[in-house]
Subunit: 297 residues, 2 copies
């Protein structure tokens, strides 16, 4: 599948997901509901819902049954952005060219908005149509990958455990960076694939493939993000790049631009390799792997 066809598929998917999100989001005029709509309906690429649905379809599931779960993963992604943008964290004023949630509604509202989205995401998981046992497993998968062993843990490591990193040895730093990439970014992408797969009754071999594919595209995605953060057109990106100012531990700061690009490419190669078990049906995920490092924003 070429990049153009994939982009079309992603856009088609985003239309479906945006309609579903609007259906699931609260419609009343309370402040908390306003913040939730603002944080979620923001023109995102809906990559995580796309992965939920694609994984479900690859193992014989149906988009209709996993649509609430697909939205759940977008809720979790949205909440993480709202909290990451807070002054105490990355202190970002803009996200996709619009004021961040705390800039629009204040810090307290933004903290609570994130809390509400995270809470509601678990409700959406069990709203999916699947065996009760599968839904319980999916709840556990989301908690594991999004929580202290996954995304949140990665955020803590990234933000708070890399002070003075330049004094550490390169082997230690390579491992630390991989741990951050895996938790901060791979975890939620993997959770998306795994949730779609589990809810649709995937077998062990298929689940294993999604685990590995998610890990590798996540690492590549984070490396690409780090490069874009410094080199991309800031207007396209819709936010100011901040990692360079912070002098953070990233693939770019550790390995240089070429070294980082090489790392990303080898992750993409590995990601494609594990898709063999699905045959040609997985071409869309192969194209997605390429897209992740080739995107310009």
């Amino acid at each position: 599948m070429d990049n153009k066809t994939l982009t079309k598929e992603l856009k088609k998917n985003a239309v479906i997901i945006n309609a579903a999100l609007k259906k699931f989001l609260p419609k009343d005029n309370s402040l908390i509901s306003q913040t939730m709509r603002y944080a979620v309906l923001n023109g995102g690429k809906r990559l995580r819902p796309f992965l939920v649905i694609t994984a479900a379809e690859l193992v014989g599931g149906n988009i209709k049954f996993v649509l609430p779960a697909a939205c759940a993963l977008e809720y979790v992604h949205s909440y993480s952005l709202v909290h990451d943008d807070l002054p105490a964290m990355d202190n970002d004023d803009l996200r996709r060219g619009k004021p961040t949630t705390h800039k629009k509604f204040g810090e307290a509202a933004a903290i609570l908005c994130g809390d509400a989205l995270l809470t509601e995401s678990f409700k959406l998981i069990i709203k999916s149509q699947a065996k009760a046992e599968y839904k319980n497993i999916a709840v556990g998968v989301l908690a594991d990958f999004a929580g202290y062993q996954g995304m949140v843990g990665g955020q803590v490591e990234d933000t708070l455990e890399t002070d003075g990193w330049k004094k550490k040895r390169i082997t230690y730093l390579s491992e630390k960076l991989l741990s951050i990439e895996a938790k901060k970014t791979s975890a939620l992408l993997t959770a998306s694939l795994y949730t779609g797969a589990v809810l649709s009754g995937a077998n062990e071999k298929q689940k294993e493939a999604f685990l590995n594919y998610g890990f590798h595209i996540g690492c590549a995605f984070q490396i690409a993000d780090d490069i874009l953060d410094v080199y991309a057109d800031k207007k396209l990106l819709g936010k100011k790049g901040s990692d360079k100012d912070n002098n953070k531990l990233t693939a770019l700061s550790l390995f240089g631009k070429e070294g980082a690009q090489e790392k990303a490419s080898s992750h993409i190669k590995a990601a494609k390799a594990v898709l063999k078990t699905f045959g040609k049906k997985a071409d869309i995920l192969r194209a997605l792997a390429d897209y992740i490092v080739d995107r310009t924003y």
Copy 2:
């Protein structure tokens, strides 16, 4: 049951819950795990786990089966305190006489600590031993009562939607206050009872009774808290009272001390009335209702 017997039961319960919490909390030395232990192992009364277990036992369930869910409710309570204490919210430096989580670990760590506890709470729900369908329902119950329609929604109303309240009419304010009490405090107490009940296969009549009991003791609890916040011994309370400084909408500021106490008493009376369906077995919940308004901290 007299107050002394109840206090003994609560203490016995707290010992069991603290042991279970220590078992479920992460044991590694990462920063996120440290913050989670700090926020949860704080000498709390473990009232919510007590309600999970009591409700389960009242409908024929077993403490062993619902212990993870009991801890889940304590996680949610703990996360809500960590986030409420943040500078952008209540800005409290002390909680039960100890530095609040953000004072100890910094704001970013405290925000992520709350996120991690909330996420993990859903994992604990599905770790309980119950039919898969019951666990699905319990996940939904926790999300509903803790989320935007429940606790988080109440927090938003309480913190951000009562500015200039003194200019509003008393009927409007009474309703607004009841909505805040019901969401901010009743919701999680009700969720505790309901979770224990649902996981143990309670019937509709029993669930209905817990819904009403939780609503009334929650309102009474919040009113008692508002009174204690102003009148209690600050050393016993382990924090400075802050509502009076903030001139917030509370039962105390709206109805005066006597009026607020009357409201609390009538909630307690109503709470006891709905327990009829359980007969004498529910004496412990009757004693708890009295304890809630009689406690000194």
